[in-house]
């Protein structure tokens, strides 16, 4: 994933991946330095955070990532690492079944399938994934409240990428 001449560091993809694994683990904190990147993530609202002393003010209860280097390549950067960050444990991620283009509405100009805060059933269609003009609706798979929509309309998503989060009822 890293360009071969770039100093060793973490790409946005790496961080996404780490965050996913961190989320799935029972670890409380992750403090990682790779090259010029320093990644600090905590599930603890009282965590010390980055560049703060042990007795510093509480960090916000979200994962914090700092000094992520911009990919030094002309290849378009991977989707922003906003996916898993800060989603509480009990929220359920609706993930992309395959690579494709993410659409929030059934057709251009139509209202989105769902908005943040909206209540959904397990079989409610929440978005579309398009592969070469073939549109496949994605259902949430769980009843609850849409808490976060992670991807913007028309963006390319990869297999297994979180698209939105539902807080189960």
């Amino acid at each position: 994933m890293t360009e071969k001449d770039k100093p060793a560091g973490l790409t946005a993809d790496d961080i996404n991946h780490l965050l996913e694994q961190f989320e799935a683990s029972d670890w409380r904190e992750l403090d990682l330095r790779v090259g010029d990147t320093h990644l600090f993530v905590s599930k603890d609202g009282q965590a010390r955070g980055i560049d703060r002393g042990p007795s510093a003010t509480p960090a916000p209860p979200s994962a914090a990532a700092a000094s992520v280097p911009e990919p030094a390549t002309a290849v378009p950067p991977a989707p922003a690492p906003q996916t898993a960050a800060g989603a509480p444990d009990h929220w359920v991620a609706v993930k992309a079944p395959n690579l494709g283009t993410f659409y929030r509405s059934p057709k251009p100009g139509a209202p989105p399938y769902v908005e943040e805060g909206q209540t959904v059933e397990a079989d409610t269609e929440v978005c579309l994934i398009e592969v070469m003009k073939l549109f496949t609706p994605v259902t949430g798979g769980v009843a609850g409240t849409v808490r976060r929509i992670c991807v913007s309309d028309g963006e390319m998503v990869e297999h297994d990428q979180p698209l939105l989060y539902i807080e189960p009822a």
């Binding site: 994933m1 890293t2 360009e3 071969k4 993809d13 991946h17 390549t73 002309a74 290849v75 378009p76 991977a78 079944p97 395959n98 690579l99 494709g100 283009t101 398009e130 592969v131 070469m132 073939l134 390319m156 990869e158 297999h159 297994d160 990428q161």
Partner: protein, 456 residues
């Protein structure tokens, strides 16, 4: 227009090979992977990696539309299909081109034409390339028996849509025809969705030889000499060499000309291989098929000619005139490749996916290793079992065989079973050293001797 950003639509060693060739030409690379291949040397080496879909190939590497969508969405202008997977699917090449992507390979029509064995045989015939005496398409077992009587026994039944040895059965007398026909037809139907069969005369002592070609798409074709891939198991190549040391020069010259004529006849574009059976007793060769892709064994040709074939593919696909003259392409010395597979030759070649815990490949200036594996690679169970290719070079075949033995002895892989013990046994066998090999040697002599050696 030169390729700017290349989508690599494959996995394993060939994906890495293509990425590196592209990088040597300053072409950006995007690798499409399945969920099982997210981590690995290919993903680490490519400029960008995107996850196509879940591990099963049908939902990732083999999904034509998904791969083209990924190439377009990542801003690529070309697609390299490697070998296997979508490499010889004409509809994939066509979809790429319809969407404005350069397909690094032959034209879709050519893939279609040479992919159908009967059409390929017609093509060979039209261009004066000798065929193994054979029948037209068979209607039923009676038709097959009559055709076999005419050709003379033994005969081999083949699937029209076939490949990889599937749907192929030998009949040594008229009595065996009915059973062979039924089995071949059923296997062809289930493997290719097409049960059509034809018959060929069966050559008792044959070598598998093939000619590497490169075409400019306008009738200009260069050859890069021949390879000998006679060490086979169930029609799968195990060891490959360049050149075919057992072939007299006069036959070799005719062989190269036949391959070039055939490819020129379709205005072949990009890299391909024309495969022949060499009848050792008659010193005569017969056309088998055309492989419309870069092949697994291309490195032996690269070692013997000093040419980077994958780079040639990319430059040609980008519209560059390679300025090649046939006289510039010289075969010098001898190269041998052995395929390293995650399979256990002591237990009926059962696949052995799992975690590699030790990986110490041989090194040296005459040794090349094409592999995506490292000391902690996970070999997923979903795909082909090949984990690498070891290639050695020598001034002549004798020296190459010696270097192969040394390199194989030094190669250590831990954590999973591999076919290294079998490859060491072959390399050290007197028949192999003396080049007394034919396409049935491994199954009839090599493997029984290997089993006996293991028991003792």
């Amino acid at each position: 227009m030169p390729i700017r950003r290349l989508f690599v639509a494959n996995r394993g060693e060939i994906a890495l090979r293509v990425v590196r060739a592209a990088q040597s030409l300053n072409i950006e690379t995007v690798l499409g992977v399945s969920a099982a291949d997210r981590d690995g040397l290919g993903a680490e080496t490519a400029d960008r990696t995107v996850a196509l879909g879940p591990a099963p190939a049908g939902k990732s590497y083999l999904d034509t539309r998904l791969v083209v969508h990924a190439a377009l969405a990542t801003g690529c202008d070309a697609v390299h299909p490697g070998y296997g997977f979508l490499s010889e699917r004409a509809e994939f090449a066509k979809l790429c081109e319809d969407e404005g992507l350069i397909f690094v390979g032959p034209r879709p029509e050519t893939i279609d034409q040479v992919g159908d064995k009967l059409r390929a045989r017609e093509l060979a015939q039209r261009n004066g390339v000798p065929l193994v005496p054979g029948s037209p398409l068979l209607t039923d077992a009676n038709d097959a028996a009559d055709a076999a009587d005419e050709l003379g026994y033994p005969v081999v039944m083949k699937a029209s849509a076939g490949g990889g040895g599937k749907g192929m059965f030998v009949a040594r007398s008229r009595d065996e025809i009915a059973a062979s026909f039924e089995r071949a037809s059923n296997e062809a139907q289930s493997a290719f969705g097409d049960g059509s069969l034809y018959l060929e005369r069966y050559i008792e002592t044959a070598r598998h030889v093939e000619v590497q070609i490169l075409g400019d798409g306008e009738g200009g074709v260069w050859h890069f000499g021949e390879r000998d891939c006679s060490v086979q198991r169930r029609y799968q190549k195990v060891v490959e060499e360049a050149p075919c040391a057992a072939m007299p020069e006069a036959v070799r010259t005719k062989l190269h000309a036949a391959a070039v004529d055939l490819a020129a006849g379709v205005h072949y574009r990009n890299a391909g291989t024309v495969e022949f059976l060499y009848d050792v007793d008659r010193q005569d060769f017969h056309f088998i098929e055309v492989n419309a892709r870069i092949q697994v064994e291309h490195p032996v040709t690269e070692m013997a000619t000093g040419r980077d074939l994958v780079a040639c593919q990319l430059r040609m696909a980008g519209g560059e005139d390679l300025g090649l003259s046939q006289n510039d392409i010289c075969i010098d010395g001898h190269a041998i490749e052995v395929r390293i597979n995650a399979e256990d030759p002591s237990h009926d070649f059962r696949p052995s996916p799992g975690r590699i815990t030790g990986w110490r490949p041989p090194t040296g200036e005459h040794v090349r290793l094409d592999s995506h594996c490292t000391a902690d690679s996970l070999i997923p169970p979903f795909y082909d079992s090949m984990i690498g290719k070891l290639i050695v070079y020598g001034d002549d075949r004798t020296q190459a065989v010696q270097r192969l033995q040394t390199a194989l002895d030094a190669f250590e892989i831990e954590g999973i079973a591999t076919n290294l013990p079998l490859q060491r046994f072959i390399a050290a066998h007197p028949d192999f050293a003396a080049n007394r090999i034919d396409t049935r040697w491994l199954e009839q002599t090599g493997l029984p001797a290997f089993a006996q050696d293991e028991d003792s």
